[in-house]
């Protein structure tokens, strides 16, 4: 369970948001909407523990967490603005490295299956720099599937994805929520999730 109390963010002299409180329970998704520059990414980075909140507290499973909290790092899958790929390495190598970085033991077959599932099976030995933006995003989807983390924090996950990619993403998130996972996503386009599980937070 992720809980936020009186969260505030300031960039320079401008206050992005303040007094923000919400709770995300197991099996729930929180979708954050708002115009450009309203602090969606800032909020996600605070929740992920990458930047300290200007004010307020964040709780994970009832315990207050500070930036880079060890327990939260072990429970979190963060997908930021950029797909976090090395251009020099192949799709397969990138995925392996990202999964190994999370400390989860993953079999070779699981990596192959995950790449097949996002329709990159035939491109696995191509360097990431020749893949399209959408294909790079798909490696990120394969990573989410493999990581087995309770909390997903996704920044603009639908960017550059085609219709099939968006359906893949919706399926992945729905499966994650069914398994008792939590998701927080900032997005401009609807994710296509069952409405009962989704709450929307609007930053204005």
């Amino acid at each position: 369970m992720l809980e936020v109390r009186d969260l505030a963010a300031q960039r320079g002299y401008s206050v992005l948001f303040s007094g923000l409180s919400f709770r995300v329970d197991a099996g729930e998704a929180l979708v954050i909407i708002g115009a450009n520059g309203t602090g969606k990414t800032t909020l996600l980075r605070m929740l992920a523990g990458l930047s300290p909140p200007t004010d307020g507290q964040i709780f994970w499973n009832g315990k207050q967490v500070h930036p880079f909290d060890a327990e939260l790092r072990g429970a979190l899958a963060f997908a930021g603005h950029s797909p976090s790929l090395k251009d020099e390495l192949t799709a397969d190598e990138n995925l392996r490295l990202l999964v190994a970085l999370s400390g989860a033991p993953v079999a070779d077959e699981a990596i192959d299956l995950a790449l097949d599932a996002v329709a990159l099976g035939k491109k696995r030995h191509l360097p990431a720099r020749v893949l399209s933006q959408g294909q790079r995003r798909r490696i990120g989807l394969a990573r989410l599937r493999l990581l087995q983390r309770r909390l997903w924090i996704l920044d603009e996950p639908v960017t550059a994805l085609d219709a099939a990619g968006m359906a893949l993403l919706a399926g992945l998130v729905a499966e994650h929520l069914n398994g008792g996972g939590l998701a927080v996503a900032a997005t401009h386009a609807p994710l296509g999730l069952p409405e009962a599980r989704v709450r929307t937070l609007s930053l204005a």
Partner: protein, 241 residues
Amino acid sequence: MTAGDAAARLDDADDNAGAIWPAIRWGLARDLRIALRSRAELGVQLLFYVIVVTLFPLATTPERTLLATMGPGVLWVAALLASLLSLPRLFAGDYADGTLEQIALSPHPLAALVSGKILAHWLTTGLPVAVLAPLLGIQYSMSGDALVILTIALLLGTPILSLLGAIGAALTLGLRAGGSLLALLVLPLYIPILIFGAGSVDMWRSGLDVSGNLSLLGAGLLLAIVGAPFAAAAAVRIAMD
């Protein structure tokens, strides 16, 4: 250990996650693999070192005793510059493509991941610089013993350059004038290593015992190994904000 071995060993890194060695291995194997894919960049840095060292005899004097006096100093300064030139590669690329975020959020200890990256940096820059030094020293008509001492000093000193440089490289992440600021920040820190490193050959030439200088370099290396990865890891976290 070759890069292939290192990469192959990555797979066993999963067995005891959270421990220190798998994290060091992850950083080492990954950065070595990336370095091997961008060999041209590595070659350019080494060529820069070779050319700088070669320019001095051309620009100054063909006189043998003078050259033999200058040689160690020139080689050390060129090693410093080569290290400085390659420092942005350590974190800036990972920062730009977002992989540094994933590294910072990994459950592995960040200082260990950073240590692996620093080790890879040294293997691809400091080690070749030290290995090439005896070859380049011949241009300065340095004697065989002087070349041996120079190489030992470089082998002890270049890892310190990578370790201290990593702190500077992490501190200047995301800054607009990062490159030049990095030089201003790191070069003063390199001065003691330069003094003891280049000084050891001078001491040998004056017939003094060099073990003191080399021991100090060794002590500095141990200190840097213990401290620098933690400082660099802290700087990486600051850069995430």
